[in-house]
Symmetry: C2
Subunit: 213 residues, 2 copies
């Protein structure tokens, strides 16, 4: 495989501060408004520009675009999502979930994954690990934000991996890292809150605060 | 620790496409031009806005800013860098390195780490792993690019971790992920090349090409 130069996509004009500081998990996607192939090329090109260990570029992306394939994968995603809740909390279905659970929106996404406009799975091949794919995944998510697309970083579960790998003919040396549904947002979304960096940053030593609040 | 809203920094105005597509490893840093505390707050705030698993925000950053501490850490970095070359190629010093080695610039950085204006170490605490810190690390690197700062993603080596942890009073439940020197670039840097996404993307199936070249 030969490396090439890639032109900066003309439509990634949003200021980087706005993209980063308004990025958030979007779990409600419009099933009635498709995502263009051009936008998918843009977000994947953006992903490719991120750094990887020793510039080995082990990242590989699988784009699920066919309706029947999305439906089949969406069912496995639903099973995987509930398998994770079973492992963590012993829940089997919605009736086990507390009324005020923070997982309600994620459970809705698990139901609706069958209707996602696009789903992207991220892998590495060979020796590359998470440190060589998640910088690219973040580029992909930020580029999606800049294009007005919603997305969220999700995972799968060991219960379904063999079936997923078979479904897409994933080779044995590929390692799965995350699952990213993509589409135009449904509804409105507010800003996110974070732990203040004054409390998550050590200044010359672990416990010492930086010179800001 | 209480979560807060963070305003978008006023100086992150670069278009996101430019930041992503001109980002590259910068290993030659100016030791004569300091990095401001305001810029460090900006890149760390940017890191904090990236997604993490279940929004647990396990990322913690250690900023090394004192000259004596940078010098002491820089010596450990140099040792770690050569320990990695020893493990991979049996090299002990520059005389073992081939004249045309792609590691020449990285070896120079290993020498010059003692003079880096700032060094940032990234950790997670508790259950968080690489997937919950590298999206934030990429935000940090992109924000640095937007501010005109150079940086590069580097690692350490098991040989030095105990001494690094002692030097900075890193707690036992913190996991180290990467080391990021930061400063204004010295010299000029060209664009990067990448494997084309037409060859790193599967379209509905692993081996199937997407509809672009």
């Amino acid at each position: 495989m030969e490396m090439t130069y890639i032109d900066t996509p003309a439509d990634l004009t949003m200021q980087i501060g706005e993209a980063m500081f308004t990025q958030r998990a979007i779990r409600r996607l419009r099933s009635d408004k498709p995502v263009s192939d051009a936008d998918l090329k843009t977000v994947l090109d953006a992903a490719s520009k991120a750094p990887s260990g020793g510039n080995t570029q082990p990242g590989r992306f699988l784009v699920i675009r066919e309706r029947d394939t999305i439906k089949a994968f969406g069912k496995l995603y639903h099973e995987a999502w509930w398998a994770k809740r079973r492992d963590a909390y012993g829940w089997k279905n919605r009736s086990d979930m507390p009324e005020d659970s923070p997982y309600k929106m994620a459970a809705l996404l698990a139901d609706e994954m069958v209707d996602a406009p696009v789903i992207i799975l991220a892998f590495t091949i060979g020796r590359g690990g998470a440190s060589s794919i998640f910088p690219g995944v973040q580029n992909l998510l930020l580029a999606a934000r800049a294009l007005g697309l919603g997305s969220v970083l999700t995972t799968l579960h060991a219960d379904v991996m063999e079936r997923v790998n078979q479904m897409f003919s994933v080779p044995a040396d590929a390692e799965f890292h995350c699952c990213i549904p993509l589409g135009y947002p449904r509804g409105n979304f507010g800003p996110t809150r974070r732990f203040p960096t004054s409390q998550t940053t050590g200044w010359n030593s672990w416990g010492a605060a930086p010179p800001w609040k």
